[in-house]
Homo-oligomer: 227 residues x 2
């Protein structure tokens, strides 16, 4: 994958076509490139999805733009990564909520189960994106209000499910915080074990993972349930 031509003359871009690019939304945007910011985020997102290192230069390259251009839209690499994380988190949350929309609203523990399964599935399907939103290793996590908000709402979601379960007398223990953290640790830990490549060492085959996730979550729910 290395050995990328560095002396490529950059094509110099004839710039003849592209008539005008009238704006369509009330928010106005189109400048030179059209919407470099958006394109850069998508490029970075795809870069991550490909398992490649996400570099500002490579994103710029894919947007057919000079290496300095991205810095007009992001003060530094971390800011780009934060934007990428926001986008990923938005998609993540949307998928979780879609899964919950199909779950029986009456049974809080069934909803918890659906949440956990959707969580693990998304992490399996978009490992690089999950990595970005979950570790804060690529940028300062608190730097994005949107990210924090999205995350907090997901936390509140599971909190409500457990509170409801407690109200309905479904739980053995009343220490909701402990149950909440344990449940999340289980789900997060399972997703990460898969992501971090632990499962081969545990004799768990790729095809088995999803079913195992269900089993593990069921075990947990049975453990906290009454009787």
């Amino acid at each position: 994958m290395p050995a990328r031509q560095t002396s490529k003359p950059q094509i110099s871009k004839p710039q003849t076509s592209k008539p005008r690019a009238r704006r369509q939304t009330p928010e106005a945007r189109p400048y030179h490139h059209g919407d470099l910011r958006r394109v850069l985020i998508d490029a970075a997102l795809q870069l991550a999805a490909e398992g490649a290192e996400v570099s500002v230069r490579e994103a710029a390259r894919r947007a057919a733009v000079s290496p300095g251009a991205p810095f007009r839209h992001f003060p530094n690499r971390d800011a780009l990564m934060a934007a990428v994380a926001e986008e990923a988190q938005r998609r993540f949350r949307a998928e979780i909520e879609a899964a919950l929309a199909e779950a029986p609203s009456a049974d809080p523990l069934a909803r918890f189960r659906a949440f956990g399964i959707a969580y693990v599935r998304w992490a399996m399907r978009y490992p690089a994106h999950f990595e970005i939103i979950s570790t804060g290793r690529y940028f300062a996590h608190g730097s994005s209000a949107e990210l924090t908000r999205d995350n907090d709402e997901l936390v509140a979601l599971t909190e409500r499910m457990l509170a409801e379960a407690a109200e309905q007398g479904l739980l053995r223990s009343t220490d909701l915080k402990r149950i909440l953290i344990a449940g999340r640790a289980l789900i997060y830990g399972f997703a990460r074990m898969n992501l971090d490549g632990h499962f081969p060492r545990w004799g768990v085959a790729e095809a088995e993972v999803e079913r195992l996730a269900e089993g593990v979550i069921d075990l947990f729910i049975a453990g906290i349930g009454k009787s």
Copy 2:
């Protein structure tokens, strides 16, 4: 932290003292530096502990050696990281086993508890080291036989504890694999949530973490236990 002088004349090293450095072990080692390999690993380990980026050059700098020297001992950066991981894993395993040596050998679930707590504590105390040995993001995890072996033995350790618990009729379920993975996911997930900075978002204070870990593990054990 940047702006490090690049034109530093490197001191040219008088090299007068250091009489001979007779070898002591049957394995022979002392060449020029003494034991650059060892020193580089320690430097990298400390670099990680300081939260800094681990770079080959910086490790070389700390060993007072030229930037190319490390490559005589490691074919590339990843190989250095693998050696660092081996060292970290060795220490990790030693601490886990020390903790288990103090646990009651008769009660397998108590041993499991002790294992989990020691695991989380080590991860809290040496976050960068834990990160290195647990993610495989810094090098190809399967590339080190020693690392694989150490890890497998830790897996086998918990496996045995659960098998014993099952023999003594302490468990509700007979699906040991499921319980094993769930337990590990819980412990690993908890450690990672702490490492990845999730807990502030969950309203968990730093000082609270260790006690919460115990609670969460107890909750799990109660969940899988009979009655």
